[in-house]
Symmetry: C2
Subunit: 215 residues, 2 copies
DNA sequence: CGAAGAATTGAGGTTAATCAACGAGGGTGG
DNA sequence: CCACCCTCGTTGATTAACCTCAATTCTTCG
């Protein structure tokens, strides 16, 4: 990918240049994901905002870095310049005109980058109970064979030990255990101890998505 | 344990299949980065180990996900199966036989994914002072115009406010300020207050890379 | 000069880590 | 079979790290 080139009859569609002053929002949450940006000069930071105002900046990018990638129709994070910045803008639609294997490969990487962004928000800004709740929710939402639904309940298989979950969520195994116990005590989930992987029944999805937690 | 399909005249080079039992290390830190893996069935976790044993798992991957990407010659993280897993293995060298633009695009994404992995380790497992130290070090190492070197000192420009650094490192601005003060008090760095972006002189790089912090 | 924004520092509170004990299951070997 | 050990999970008591709230300083800018 090189700089300042209009390589086809779309003229300014590909590799269009843009200059951005410092502290300027380049992409906002919810913007349609039409373009991908490459930094030529300057620095850009990517962040997300939780509903209650907590913010996590998860990438600091310099020359050569790319941002604006997402597998979705809209951006789910904010891109803001730190310094005077020069960008090259690439139409997203153009990215799809590439061999299919490569294309799907890029698609996978994009999705995984977005997941890493969400995980940075979790690690940087969420409480222990919020982390465990998010973990459970992701198990449900993941198109896993792990999730199973009956009329009233959702069941998920938790394929990790407390220690592994702790290392994933940036906690200790004791704190993870306490968070599970609290969710059980609150009636949000239920589970029994037994040998194999843990099987959790989710009684109310709402509290798991909520932001605040009380006793 | 292997070899379902050979899809072209490269023989078993592309899309070779592999079956992995649960709790098996697929990639270890330091392994030569010859292949890229795609999950067909099962779940895989990616993690890093700090020298003192702290571990951070930063990705949980399911069917369709890719792992083993790195811009380097060797893997810098561990991939381990959680469940019975079926993988497709792609030769890394083959990934380079694609149009250059796409190729460099993938390269950028790979590098950024690795940075996100490191940042997850920071957010999940490092102390406040370690986070700030790592932040400063990355400013130095980043091929930035921000870093400048004289005979004895290294200078870096810190282009962010305490609040932004805090949101990046998963801390509060007060904790960031205290960490800078501590590093200054310890004689590791020095800086003065003034209007523009902060300019930091680094006197000893060693302590910034160290893991443990006293007084 | 007064106001506003950024940074620093202190005091006190809260969350999660640490240290520790205990219980449940699953092997293994006697 | 039982005794033993080991891993895993739970829970309690205490500690430590970080957050919150607050006061102060420095700088710039109107």
């Amino acid at each position: 990918m090189e700089l300042y080139r209009s390589s086809n009859n779309h003229g300014d569609v590909i590799g269009r240049a843009m200059d951005v002053p410092p502290r300027t929002v380049i992409i906002d949450e919810g913007d349609p994901a039409r373009s991908v940006y490459k930094i030529q000069v300057g620095q850009v930071m990517l962040s997300k905002l939780l509903p209650d105002g907590r913010r996590q900046i998860f990438e600091l990018l310099g020359p050569g870095s790319i941002f604006g990638v997402t597998p979705n129709q809209r951006h789910d994070s904010v891109a803001e310049s730190l310094t005077d910045t020069k960008l090259s803008i690439f139409e997203r639609s153009w990215l799809n005109h590439v061999p299919s294997i490569e294309n799907s490969f890029v698609h996978c990487l994009e999705a995984q980058i977005c997941a890493l962004h969400d995980h940075a928000v979790l690690l940087g800004r969420k409480t222990a109970t919020e982390r465990v709740s998010t973990y459970i929710l992701n198990l449900v939402n993941g198109h896993d064979q792990n999730s199973e639904q009956t009329q009233s309940h959702v069941f998920v298989i938790v394929p990790m030990t407390r220690s592994e979950i702790a290392d994933y969520l940036g906690l200790t195994l004791e704190t993870v255990s306490r968070a599970f116990s609290r969710l059980k005590r609150l009636g949000v989930i239920s589970y029994e101890r037994h040998d194999g992987p843990m099987r959790v029944a989710i009684h109310r999805l709402g509290p798991l998505t909520g932001t605040y937690w009380t006793a």
